[in-house]
Symmetry: C2
Subunit: 347 residues, 2 copies
DNA sequence: GCGGCGTGCTTAACCGCGTAAGTACCTGGA
DNA sequence: TCCAGGTACTTACGCGGTTAAGCACGCCGC
């Protein structure tokens, strides 16, 4: 086979020059054709495209990046919080969703764990300079987040995974935590609860702030006897500590809402350790469901949303921003309550 | 200030040409100096280096990649298994560890979720061609894994996160699961257990196979009455199902060892749902500890290892391989048993 | 019949780096 | 004195794309 009659195909991956040669045009024309730009006839374009996928051509991302064009990579920076990164399924689910949304457009994900916001801004700058990334995603936005301002100023395509109140002029995706919290609280009130407490997340985060504000407003509206929010660092240990603290008083709450799944599970164990029966003596609601919520006994009533789909939509939003299409803040379906065994009427 | 006497510094990020100009040498000399290659005097080298960090120079990774040099990026491909990716803390912990190990050498991590091994091999090929990645890490190796052969053949720097038996000629990092399993089983036997069952992971994975073989051998050596391994897909649902199956027979096991944390937690709930008391009626051991193991009641006895550190060592190994330093299979500290409340003498 | 213009393509100059090949200079040995 | 050989550097090209500028050609109106 291939007895020298035809030149052997190049062993290396084909470059755009190979495609151009095969299609009988110049490198430049091939580039125009492949990128859907004007300046080539439709006939030529289809010839080039045919040649390209006959050869299995895929442009080198490095070369594209160097020439100032798209790199086909989206960047995600994650600030490593004390211990929550690995523990909460949230991030990994978000990442798989992002990845799926990006992969559908042949984009890949560059991940960088950072120490603080300063470092994060520096990473964004470097990425931008290198063209190693076409746009970035940030999450866990704070109420007054330096990253947002820096990105806005730079004009770099960016998507904020967080509420519009913290996104400035950047594109963002969010789900309305106020609606979800209201659903949970109204459900508890309907069951008869009057003393509800919330184990909140890190207070400086924008979504925590929204939840806390909603919770307070809701308590006033529904005339609850008591409705406090105690902040935490999202860790199981802290969740257990706060739970014991909340349950240690005389007029203890009859229902607890937790800002993440890990704390809810820890809180359940803490309550049971104090001799309380869930849901008989105490109702528990977890925010953001995860498989562990369904695995403990009783299974936890939770505010459920599809985090992976959330990530996919965020990815699509970023791709739109990269394409220069106008993007605003879209809001995803809010989390909805899935009642399970951990909620019941108060004693 | 800067009244035209000296040329204003470039607003764009400095390139190597700027550094060369500042140091009064040619671009080429600057490149040699910065990359620690011979051909420049020590005096010149230090002048160049000084100029570089006075200007805050960082080489463009795209340009380096294009020129065939290092890109400063390591690639990790993750096959998305049914549902385990997001659920098991393992991956996220591994990733943070990897990231830390890479960041220490200014490397970053490119993550790609793939559908199957074919896709994965294709991704590796593309990365290699593009120079977009200097080396790759693979995990969840199977007993006869096509990826290993493909990588070996290509000669691309790669590190297998898995046992040497499945790593072929590639560098690998592993912890001796046989030792860990033996520790757990001997501990249970010392407590008096004679009927121990194991809820294993996906049977085709190399480490599952090692664990299963060790378990069988150990049972023979210790003369256990029964010691079966039932495979599973690592999901909580499957863990619960297998648990019910194992406990539904007359001469049921008095101790269960689970191949991951999620199944152990699910198994605990399943057993409790059948009216069994843990650890009184049944002892449970989880493999790979995670915060949830400590949050459930009783807290689960687990085989503990520092997964993040494991990732960091894997990263270092890959960097060594990229540098062309000889690397073999290093083995990490095996997981050790941390007895908690879920193990006790049999009834 | 001729200048002007849009179309479709080619040419060539980059992007920022690495590096082989070339050059200038110094040293030392015959 | 002259040349071989090493050192320290410069020059120039290539990596694989993108893209501004240039050019040939057909078509139009006057």
């Amino acid at each position: 086979m291939n007895r020298g009659s035809s030149p052997p195909p190049p062993a290396r991956r084909p470059t755009i020059a190979d495609v151009a040669r095969a299609a009988g045009v110049s490198k430049g024309a091939a580039s125009y054709a492949l990128n859907g730009r004007s300046g080539v006839s439709e006939a030529t374009r289809s010839r080039v495209v045919a040649a390209a996928d006959a050869l299995g051509f895929r442009a080198s991302s490095a070369a594209r990046a160097l020439a100032g064009a798209r790199s086909g990579v989206a960047g995600l920076t994650l600030r490593r919080p004390a211990r929550t990164l690995a523990v909460e399924p949230f991030y990994m689910e978000l990442i798989t969703g992002l990845e799926a949304g990006l992969a559908a457009h042949s984009y890949s994900l560059l991940l960088q764990v950072v120490h603080d916001h300063g470092h994060e801004i520096e990473v964004h700058r470097r990425w931008r300079h290198d063209h190693s990334v076409d746009g970035v995603l940030i999450c866990d936005v704070g109420v007054d987040d330096g990253r947002v301002a820096a990105l806005e100023e730079s004009g770099f395509p960016a998507v904020v995974i967080g509420p519009p109140s913290a996104s400035g002029g950047l594109a963002g995706i969010w789900s309305d935590d106020g609606v979800s919290l209201a659903e949970a609280v109204r459900y508890l009130v309907a069951l008869g609860h009057r003393r509800i407490a919330r184990v909140g997340g890190l207070p400086h985060l924008a979504h925590t702030e929204i939840r806390t504000r909603t919770f307070t407003a809701l308590a006033a509206e529904l005339g609850l006897d008591s409705a406090v929010t105690v902040p935490s660092d999202y860790s199981g240990e802290d969740g257990a500590r706060v739970t014991r603290e909340l349950l240690g008083v005389r007029e203890r709450p009859t229902a607890l809402v937790y800002d993440n799944d890990i704390m809810a599970v820890a809180g359940l164990a803490a309550a049971q350790g104090m001799g309380l029966s869930v849901p008989h003596d105490l109702s528990i609601v977890a925010w953001d469901d995860s498989p562990v919520c369904r695995l403990v006994r009783p299974p936890l009533t939770a505010l459920v949303r599809d985090i992976s789909a959330y990530g996919t939509r965020a990815a699509r939003l970023l791709l739109a921003a990269i394409d220069g299409r106008p993007v605003g803040s879209v809001h995803d379906e809010p989390a909805h309550l899935s009642p399970r065994g951990s909620t019941a009427p108060p004693p």
